[in-house]
């Protein structure tokens, strides 16, 4: 039977269409739903008011992450530590009440499986290739690293999924970002995705689902793929995808919620069909040469404001259009930077290693490899490592990474979103800079007035040692 060649995105989409309305809107089935404390209370409240149950409680997994302090969660006697901020405590209590009330599996803050939703989902095998995955969090695109169609939704959609296990959606277009060749020394998945965003722009993926294709992605571990797909939203894309392969299957096999035995074999057979067909048409295609990518940093207040570490703060006058010139000048004013300054001369007072982008075990290993036998510079006032989950934390401790971090002057924290969004007590003070492995350098993102420079874990470690933004390659020789 001859059928039209389809992209990976189109295949996953087609497999989830319950029905299509006359106006073209499709009712799409949602296989997996992750819930956290910040974007769910109003959704549960709406269900309660309307007397609506959760349609498929077993397809939703709840875990607190955004608002939790990253200081110890149990005291010396093993009792849970109360959360000081009453609003945060109330929000966390709401999730703790809502999940069991609606029959949803809940991972408590004190469990070793607790962590950032986007670390927990893959780690538990809850996130699977070919599934549709949603969460009230824009970095849900992360799970595309497993070959899942994963995207962030608002709270009204959280309510819609809880009540119906579906969403009403318009199909996006397929976009290809192809990177062939090999990444150079010191160049990581983070540098790659930052380079891609810098190339296509913060709205370059708007209206599209991006499929990352080519030798560079095929050679990556699952954790690196998660980092790439995680930041698809920073290019404006609905989602990011990498076709699942043997690397993906090896990662998932044996995880607690992954299929087992005969079902595993059936699942793998299905997953092997999940790739773009030869001749599939992408509405937009971008090709990047891996050799052009260097360890990268952001200079401004949009993730598209990317330069190689060897570069300089750009001059707003060099931008072609007026709106970009205005935006660049505003960014430089906020960031307290002068055009033409070499990036390696920008001093750093804070270092944050964590977030759903870069808090997995490979990220911590990469940072620890740079920090081993070294210490943060005196002008670095605050340096923290926040593992993505309790399981990552225990693994790192088993490998002795925690000791490397604390010897280097870092604080070793409990898992959560932490200083990525400055919702819990972990914030960067006004006017100070942070070399951060997170995903957003927005105005005020890490705290009011905070100045964020996005970097890879290895580059964050290098910045901590140098006390300024630094080229990690100089420490890796």
């Amino acid at each position: 039977m001859a059928s039209r060649p389809r992209t990976l995105y189109e295949k996953i989409w087609d497999a989830h269409v319950v029905e299509t309305r006359d106006d073209g809107t499709a009712l799409i089935y949602i296989d997996r739903h992750l819930v956290h404390e910040v974007t769910s209370p109003q959704a549960f409240e709406a269900l309660r008011l309307a007397g609506r149950p959760v349609r498929r409680p077993e397809l939703t997994l709840a875990v607190p992450d955004h608002n939790l302090p990253t200081t110890p969660r149990v005291d010396g006697a093993g009792k849970p530590v109360a959360i000081a901020d009453p609003e945060s405590a109330a929000q966390l209590a709401a999730l703790e009440d809502n999940a069991p009330a609606f029959g949803i599996r809940y991972i408590p803050a004190t469990a070793k499986e607790q962590g950032i939703v986007h670390v927990v989902g893959p780690e538990q095998g809850f996130s699977l290739p070919g599934t549709t995955i949603v969460c009230g969090d824009s970095h849900t695109a992360c799970h595309g690293g497993l070959g899942a169609l994963a995207f962030g939704i608002g709270t009204s959609e959280v309510e819609h999924v809880l009540a119906t296990q579906t969403l009403l959606l318009q199909q996006s277009k397929s976009m290809e970002v192809r990177v062939d060749g090999d990444l150079g020394p010191g160049v990581t998945a983070k540098d790659l995705i930052m380079h891609i965003i810098g190339t296509i722009g913060a709205a370059g993926g708007s209206g599209y689902v991006i499929e990352y294709r080519g030798a560079v992605f095929e050679a990556m571990s699952v954790e690196q793929r998660l980092t790439v797909c995680n930041m698809s939203i920073e290019a404006g894309a609905r989602a990011g995808l990498i076709a699942p392969d043997d690397v993906t299957f090896a990662y998932l096999k044996g995880r607690p919620m992954a299929p087992q035995d005969a079902e595993w074999d059936a699942a793998v057979a299905y997953w092997r069909t999940l790739h773009s067909d030869d001749g599939a048409v992408f509405a937009k295609s971008v090709t990047i040469d891996a050799a052009d990518i260097e360890p990268s940093v952001t200079w401004g207040t949009s993730p598209e404001d990317v330069v190689p570490i060897g570069g300089r703060v750009p001059d707003p006058q060099d931008f072609a259009d007026e709106s970009k010139r205005v935006a660049a000048q505003k960014s430089l004013d906020y960031m307290g930077l002068t055009a033409g300054t070499p990036m390696t001369q920008v001093p750093i007072e804070n270092v944050f290693i964590g977030s759903c982008t870069n808090s997995r075990i490979e990220d911590l290993r990469a940072a620890a490899a740079v920090l081993k036998g070294r210490h943060k510079a005196d002008n670095v006032r605050w340096a923290i490592v926040v593992p993505g989950s309790g399981l990552v934390k225990y693994q790192a401790e088993a490998e002795g990474l925690d000791k490397i971090f604390t010897d280097a002057g870092f604080e070793w924290r409990e898992p959560g979103c932490s200083a990525c969004l400055g919702m819990n007590p972990d914030k960067v003070p006004p006017g100070e800079r942070c070399a951060s492995t997170s995903n957003r350098n927005f105005v005020g993102r890490q705290g009011p007035g905070a100045r964020t420079h996005l970097v890879s874990p290895a580059m964050a470690a290098a910045a901590a040692v140098a006390g300024r933004l630094a080229d990690v390659r100089e420490l890796q020789n």
Partner: protein, 199 residues
């Protein structure tokens, strides 16, 4: 949700591009378990800067906001739409919106109007002159007292939801049988997909 058909009034000429949802409503306001009262935190960082449009009495209570490319990018927080709603914003006009924000807006009775940059630039001028702007969803037009007339499109389902104040959850729950049929065929063919946390 209240139906939205036609909005007439002054417009706030923000004009900035890449206005992210952290700017619309900072994280510290997300600790609420309610949808109410978020207007007080809307554009908090911008309100602190001299000469900003949000503190300008000329635009107080304006129901329209005009912005640059990629409005509402970043975090999926629906608090951004709730904050705009609480400020009294019914329409946002921009050359482009983030996918998640525009969906959140519509679900809260806020109309995202996409117009080309030159039309947006013209409307910014009109807004700065203190003249009202009229946005009509039935005719899908934006008009001004200077005889400007710009047409826009919105996908038919979203337009229908806004014009009639429809409850999407209720609409979809009425399709429960179709969803049940889909689930039954899934359970038969790929049972592992339906297990989720029940393993």
């Amino acid at each position: 949700m209240e139906p939205l058909t036609r909005v007439e009034g002054r417009a706030i000429p923000l004009g900035l591009k890449n206005v992210d949802t952290d700017i619309i409503i900072p994280a510290k306001w997300l600790k609420t378990i309610s949808r109410e009262g978020l207007g007080a935190g809307a554009f908090e960082a911008l309100r602190g800067t001299p000469g900003n449009v949000f503190e300008d009495p000329a635009y107080a209570g304006a129901p329209v906001l005009i912005a640059g490319d990629n409005f509402g990018c970043g975090s999926s927080r629906e608090h951004a739409a709730w904050a705009l709603d609480d400020m009294g914003i019914r329409v946002v006009i921009a050359p482009s919106f983030s996918d998640i924000f525009s969906g959140n807006a519509v679900k809260n009775g806020i109309l995202p109007v996409v117009l080309p940059q030159d039309a947006v630039d013209r409307l910014l001028e009109v807004a700065r002159a203190g003249e009202p702007i009229t946005v009509d969803l039935e005719t899908q037009t934006v008009t001004t007292t200077y005889q400007d007339r710009f047409s826009f499109t919105l996908d038919p389902f979203r337009r229908d939801c806004l014009l009639n104040g429809l409850d999407e959850v209720g609409l979809t729950m009425a399709r429960g049988e179709a969803i049940g049929g889909f689930e039954a065929s899934r359970t038969a063919a790929q049972p592992w997909l339906m297990r989720g946390t029940s393993v």
